[in-house]
C-alpha cells in the first residue's frame, strides 16, 4: 500500500492517450467547424417546432395562420428565421463535406481546410442570396 508512486507507475499499464483537454487545446478551423455542425443540427431540430406551427396554422385556417404570421414577421420571429436559414445553409454545405469524407475524400489536412473555407464561403453566399430573393 505504501509503495512509492514511482514503482507503482512503472509496474502499471502504459497510460492511455487522453482526448484533447478543451480548456487548453487551441481551437482550429477543423475542430470549430466540427462542433458547429453539431450545434447547427441541434438548433435546426429545435427550429422544426416553428415549421410545425406554420403547417398546423395553415391547416387550421386563416385566423390561426395570421397569428403565426404576426410572430414570424416580428423582430424575434425574423431573427429566428434568419438564424435557422444560416444554420441550414451551413449544415447543408458542411454536410456535403461530411459525405465526401464518408466516401474517402478530403483526408489530407490541406484539403480538409480548403473544403472548410469553401463551406464558409458558400454558407454566406447562399444565405445572402436567399434573403435577397425572398419576399419578406
Amino acid at each position: 500500500m505504501s509503495e512509492p508512486a514511482q514503482t507503482q507507475k512503472a509496474a502499471g499499464p502504459k497510460p492511455r492517450p487522453l482526448s484533447p483537454h478543451l480548456q487548453v487545446y487551441k481551437p482550429q478551423l477543423t475542430s470549430v467547424m466540427s462542433i458547429t455542425h453539431r450545434a447547427t443540427g441541434y438548433a435546426l431540430s429545435i427550429g422544426l417546432v416553428m415549421l410545425t406551427w406554420m403547417l398546423l396554422a395553415l391547416a387550421s385556417g386563416p385566423a390561426a395562420y395570421e397569428t403565426f404570421l404576426s410572430f414570424a414577421g416580428s423582430g424575434v420571429g425574423q431573427l429566428l428565421l434568419f438564424g435557422w436559414s444560416l444554420a441550414l445553409f451551413y449544415h447543408l454545405c458542411n454536410g456535403v463535406r461530411h459525405l465526401l469524407w464518408d466516401m474517402g475524400y478530403l483526408f489530407k489536412i490541406e484539403k480538409a481546410y480548403k473544403a472548410g473555407y469553401i463551406v464558409l464561403l458558400f454558407t454566406v453566399i447562399l444565405t445572402a442570396y436567399f434573403w435577397w430573393s425572398v419576399s419578406v
Binding site: V49, A59, L92, G95, L99
Partner: protein, 134 residues
C-alpha cells in the same frame, strides 16, 4: 422464458441470432440511415429553399394554394419525413454522447423519439389536410 440469444429452436445460425445484439446494437443501421436521410435532405432542402425564395408573398391564400398543389404537397411530405427522421437520429447521437447516466439517457432517448414523432405526425396531417381540402 428463452432469452433472445439462446437457441429458440428456429434453426437460426449463430450469426442471425447475434444480429442486433452486439455492442454495436444497431449502430450501423443508424449510421446508414443518417447518411441516406442526409442525401435526401440535401435535395429536398434545396427544393424547399428555392420554393420559399420564389414564393410571391406569404398571405394565407398564396401559401395554402401553393401547398395544395399535388407536386408541392408530395415533396413537402417527403421533406418532413426525411428531415424529422434525420433530426431524431442526430439528436439521439448527441444525447448518447453527453448524457452519462444510463436511466436518464433511456428516458431522454424516449423523449426525443416521442417529440419528433408527435411534431412529424402533426406536419404530415396538416399537409394532407391542406392538400385534400385546400
Amino acid at each position: 422464458m428463452k432469452l433472445k440469444w439462446e437457441d429458440d429452436g428456429t434453426f437460426k445460425s449463430p450469426l442471425s441470432r447475434a444480429r442486433g445484439l452486439g455492442s454495436a446494437g444497431g449502430a450501423v443501421t443508424h449510421w446508414w440511415h443518417q447518411r441516406l436521410t442526409s442525401v435526401a435532405n440535401l435535395l429536398l432542402m434545396l427544393w424547399l429553399v428555392c420554393a420559399a425564395a420564389q414564393m410571391p408573398g406569404w398571405s394565407y391564400d398564396v401559401v395554402a394554394g401553393w401547398l395544395a398543389q399535388p407536386i408541392n404537397a408530395v415533396l413537402m411530405l417527403l421533406s418532413v419525413i426525411s428531415v424529422f427522421y434525420h433530426a431524431a437520429l442526430g439528436c439521439q447521437v448527441i444525447a448518447e454522447d453527453y448524457i452519462h447516466h444510463e436511466g436518464l439517457k433511456i428516458f431522454k432517448l424516449g423523449g426525443i423519439r416521442l417529440f419528433f414523432l408527435a411534431t412529424g405526425v402533426t406536419c404530415v396531417f396538416s399537409i394532407l389536410k391542406i392538400a385534400f381540402t385546400g
